[in-house]
């Protein structure tokens, strides 16, 4: 019995060590690289995609905060920006739909990669679904309301 407990504890500690060894270096690299001009250019490149999802450029900061930091941690920024900019209800729901399916993508993907998952599939499919659904809803909603 004691041995079983020790084995379980050892397995748990191994997993904990693996998490530390993978998560800390990757988060550090991400933090160092994230101010690189390439990311700013990428930001401009996604503008047409945002328009496709019915989102105005004002939604960019809360959207990207959510995508990278997550809803729970990015909540402060999302709520504040959403109120300041007074995003219309339609855009708030569209952004909510995107973020509901797709947020904190770096961390979420990483922890499943640690135990053997395929990060590219998890990340790619999630982004694709979030984008597809939001764009589809934006298109439907626009037609129904007959607004710009």
């Amino acid at each position: 019995m004691m041995e079983t407990l020790l084995l379980a504890l050892l397995g748990a500690l191994k997993l904990a060590a693996k998490l530390l060894l993978i998560v800390v270096p990757l988060v550090t690299v991400f933090e160092v690289l994230r101010y690189h001009p390439i990311f700013r250019r990428a930001g401009r490149a996604v503008e047409p995609m945002m328009r496709g999802m019915g989102l105005s450029p004002q939604a960019a900061v809360p959207l990207f905060t959510g995508i990278f930091l997550g809803i729970a941690y990015g909540a402060g920024i999302i709520i504040r920006v959403a109120q300041e900019k007074r995003l219309p209800g339609r855009e708030l729901f569209l952004m909510g739909l995107f973020l509901a399916t797709c947020h904190a993508v770096v961390e979420d993907t990483l922890i499943f990669v640690v135990i053997g998952g395929n990060g590219w599939i998890m990340l790619g499919v999630r982004l694709l679904i979030a984008f597809g659904l939001t764009a589809a809803l934006a298109w439907l909603w626009r037609r129904k309301a007959g607004e710009e």
């Binding site: 379980a8 500690l13 933090e31 900061v61 922890i111 679904i129």
Partner: protein, 149 residues
């Protein structure tokens, strides 16, 4: 985004501390839950309850016991789900499947409230997440079966 760009040493420190914080948060869930599930695995409890969920989990190509990981993901968070999954000996494909579905739908109580507080309809969005996760999981499993043959 008008922000000042911190210098490299600051970024290194921020990243290192951020990574440590994430890891510690993870480990807080991983240690007790992993030990609990690993010990339960030695008893018939997991097998019995797993059988109950097997027909549902089969839709996604997962063993019945994976249901525990989903419960942990929906009610708590992904760290808890990870800790439950780790001792279950899932294949890499099954981990990917779980990771994708749980990535879409997790921490539903807290995040539903947060989404609601931004002025969007939290309840409706939470329902959407569960539906999307389910449909995605089934489609991915279908694709996987066609691919592998």
């Amino acid at each position: 985004m008008a922000e000042t760009i911190p210098d490299i040493p600051t970024r290194l420190r921020t990243g290192f501390i951020g990574g440590l914080q994430t890891s510690l948060k993870l480990i807080k869930f991983v240690l007790p839950l992993y030990v609990a599930v690993d010990l339960l695995k030695k008893t018939p409890v997991i097998d019995l309850l797993g059988e109950l969920f097997a027909p549902l989990m089969q839709l996604f190509g997962l063993p019945g016991a994976a249901a525990f990981a989903f419960i942990a993901a929906f009610l708590l968070n992904l760290y808890a789900a990870l800790a439950v999954m780790a001792p279950l000996d899932l294949t890499p494909w099954q981990v990917t499947q779980c990771g994708l579905m749980m990535g879409i739908a997790h921490n539903l109580l807290v995040e539903g409230a947060v989404l609601g507080s931004t002025g969007a309809r939290g309840g409706l969005l939470t329902l959407c997440r569960l539906l999307i996760a389910g449909v995605t999981g089934m489609l991915l499993e279908l694709g996987h079966r066609l691919w592998v043959g």
